[in-house]
């Protein structure tokens, strides 16, 4: 578990190649971390990051676990595999998601299946399996990378936004369920983040970087906060968006 200096002994990242996820792990690394587990679809792609960790902290045990982001019913098994490696999970970052940018879903509805499965169904089963573990442990912090896109869903990324809206709502309620056990969930709502996921896309206003998100998240992990916005200003921007009359909302160039 976390030691008295607030250093997590074991850090787990689901979506081991996620830029934001890796930046958060980097931000949490300090002397005293014993295990980092990178759970990825392509383990080879996460190995470089594993090497970077070892260069900074040779004493850390870096483990790689393979998973299939779409395999919703397989998530509990993957969580078991992780627990077998680290015993207790101090901080786990759930960062697997598909953006679905540029897909013509209207004409190819079947393309929405993997997106909805990874972002919603499989993330839900993963959160449930993790919630069971932290509740059993009596402590532990689950970090869900949600998005401002779920706050009021726009037509330009309707499918992505809708999955984030769903999983975000689910996570907040699950956190309520966990509250008596000592475990908790932190929901992270970043705006536009320049990363692999958004490569080639036009930057949105208030865009931020994985490192900036990581700084905010690392601080929030140490606190009792349930939701963080990155950058923080977006909280107020989206509070306005959320309450705009539809007639105006639909005219906005976003």
């Amino acid at each position: 578990m976390k030691n008295g200096l607030g250093v997590s002994q074991s850090i787990v990242l689901f979506g081991g190649t996620s830029d934001i996820g890796q930046a958060i792990v980097n931000e949490l690394l300090r002397p005293g971390v014993a295990h980092v587990v990178l759970v990825s679809r392509n383990v080879q792609d996460a190995e470089g990051f594993g090497q970077q960790i070892l260069q900074r902290f040779p004493d850390i045990d870096v483990h790689h676990v393979r998973f299939e982001g779409e395999d919703a019913s397989g998530m509990p098994r993957v969580v078991q595999e992780v627990i077998a490696l680290v015993a207790d999970i101090d901080v786990v970052i759930v960062a697997q998601a598909l953006l679905g940018e540029g897909l013509d879903l209207i004409n190819n509805p079947e393309l929405a299946v993997p997106l909805a499965t990874v972002n919603f169904t499989a993330t839900m089963t993963l959160l449930l399996a993790l919630a069971k573990q932290v509740s059993h442990q009596g402590y532990g912090r689950i970090v869900l990378l949600s998005s401002v896109a779920g706050e009021r869903v726009r037509r330009s990324n309707a499918a992505y936004g809708a999955t984030k809206a769903g999983i975000d709502a689910f996570a907040l309620a699950l956190d309520h369920d966990l509250s008596a056990s000592g475990g908790s969930i932190l929901v992270v709502r970043p705006g536009f983040v320049t990363s692999k996921m958004t490569r080639g896309m036009k930057k949105a206003p208030f865009s931020t970087t994985p490192e900036a998100v990581a700084k905010i998240v690392a601080k929030a992990i140490d606190s009792k906060v349930r939701v963080v916005w990155c950058p923080g200003l977006l909280r107020w921007v989206f509070m306005i968006f959320r309450h705009l009359p539809t007639a105006i909302w639909r005219k906005l160039p976003i």
Partner: protein, 452 residues
């Protein structure tokens, strides 16, 4: 009921099912069908880290277990039997007026006998009297089978010594019998002197011929002093006064006072470099430049911080850690180096305490050994602290030293493996005493002393 617990340092909180038993049968029932996350006994929660909490498991609150409050003192011999939940505070209130003092007391009287055994506590008299464990004549311990057995240095000595400093992970101490020390006055005859730097301090305490003349000896070190004053301190040594030094009518009167209570709302950062610097300066200047004798009360000499109830709140919500290590006697350069590192880093500490310790005892996990022990408090949120302590940990271990588990909140499992040469032997005995792995704590899990 699920309760959020931490140690005295108020860091690394976790939730455990806390049970305040009303009978020994109730304890047996909990131990007989334990949760997968196990069971640990908790006294007054004075260990600084996570030794008496058990995330997701059960904690047995021994300090509020009424049947554990018995004190039976043999007035002739000074042999006492006390329940594991009895505090040193209660014991002293009962025994001091009858002319008996506890053989070893730490810097607070609010620890239980069970905790004193589990941590094998030491005090200002370690250099002559050893730690608490060596004064224990026998104890009754509940094993994970719920059987209550008698342990002593003669009956099952390996189990006895594994339970001394066993951090509660070998069994649950029910009660213990130990030898008290005869006193004729409740005052302390104390000699205090100021020492202007590290060398002067080491010279004054380092000579066993001189230092061993005093039953009690400890030095306070100013960790913010640097340059020529590096390691300056105040040495305080003493002995129980005799009744002819004591002009009071009732020489054995004992009425310790708690003067105030720290409020729960202290913000972070009240204890900072400035406030500590001012305090340290005042504390140093207050001490007499030349050796001076005085009479002090037991509470004033042994337990000055107990005068402020809940003083641990002064560090705010971030909490604090207490760092205590020991290095062998000949490693004074390492000690000086460590003090220098803390001074350079500007990591402020109230009441850093230096003591020369005497020889070790047969308990494999006992902390004290012939050498120097330094203890300091640091706000847990101090910038760069994990890096600084990790460096100091390595220096300490390389010098053949180790860390005190009752204080620990951060060392790595490796630090325990390297520091405690008899760790494997202890684990073997532990597994023999608790084959099903019932006794578990957050500290035990973090340091790999038990399975998760």
């Amino acid at each position: 009921m699920k309760q959020k617990l931490s140690g005295w340092g108020r860091t690394a909180w976790s939730y455990s099912d806390v049970i305040t038993p009303s009978s020994i049968q109730e304890i047996s029932a909990v131990v007989a069908s334990p949760q997968p996350r196990g069971v640990i006994a908790r006294g007054l929660g004075r260990s600084y880290g996570a030794a008496s909490q058990n995330a997701g498991g059960t904690v047995i609150d021994m300090a509020h277990y009424a049947s554990s409050s018995g004190i039976e003192l043999d007035q002739q011999t000074g042999v006492v039997t006390a329940g594991a939940g009895v505090s040193i505070d209660a014991l002293l209130k009962y025994c001091v007026p009858r002319g008996w003092f506890i053989p070893v007391t730490p810097g607070t009287r609010f620890v239980t006998i069970g905790g004193a055994i589990g941590s094998d506590i030491h005090g200002k008299n370690h250099h002559v009297d050893g730690s608490f464990g060596v004064h224990v004549l026998s104890m009754r311990v509940m094993l994970s089978t719920t059987e209550i057995i008698n342990l002593s240095p003669l009956e099952k000595p390996d189990w006895f010594w594994a339970t001394i400093a066993g951090m509660g992970l070998t069994g649950l101490v029910v009660d213990a019998t130990f030898q008290m020390l005869a006193i004729s006055s409740s005052l302390m005859s104390v000699e205090t002197e100021r020492l202007q730097n590290f060398d002067a301090l080491i010279e004054a305490m380092g000579s066993a011929d001189d230092d061993n003349r005093y039953r009690y000896s400890v030095a306070w070190v100013d960790l913010l002093a640097s340059g020529a004053s590096l390691g300056r301190g105040v040495l305080s040594r003493g002995e129980h006064a005799s009744s002819n030094q004591d002009s009071r009518q009732e020489c054995l009167a004992y009425k310790p006072k708690v003067r105030m209570s720290a409020p729960p709302w202290v913000p972070n950062g009240v204890i900072n470099k400035l406030s500590i610097k001012a305090f340290n300066e005042a504390w140093y200047r207050k001490a007499p430049p030349k050796r001076k004798e005085s009479l002090e009360s037991i509470a004033g000499f042994f337990h000055p911080l107990d005068g402020v109830r809940q003083w641990n709140r002064l560090y705010g919500t971030q909490g604090f850690i207490q760092y205590q290590f020991i290095v062998p006697l000949d490693q004074t350069d390492v000690l000086r180096g460590v003090i220098g590192r803390f001074a350079d880093a500007g990591v402020a500490s109230f009441l850093a305490v230096l003591k020369r310790m005497g020889k070790s005892n047969p308990a494999p996990m006992s902390f004290p050994d012939t050498g120097w022990t330094l203890t300091l408090d640091i706000a847990a949120g101090a910038r760069g602290l994990p890096e600084l302590l990790s460096t100091v940990d390595t220096v300490v271990l390389d010098a053949g030293g180790r860390h005190y588990l009752a204080k620990d909140a951060h060392v790595s499992p490796r630090a325990v493996q390297v520091g405690y040469a008899h760790l494997e032997e202890w684990k073997q005995i532990r597994n023999e005493m608790d084959p099903t792995g019932v006794w578990k704590s957050d500290l035990g899990r973090r340091l790999g002393l038990v399975d998760p």
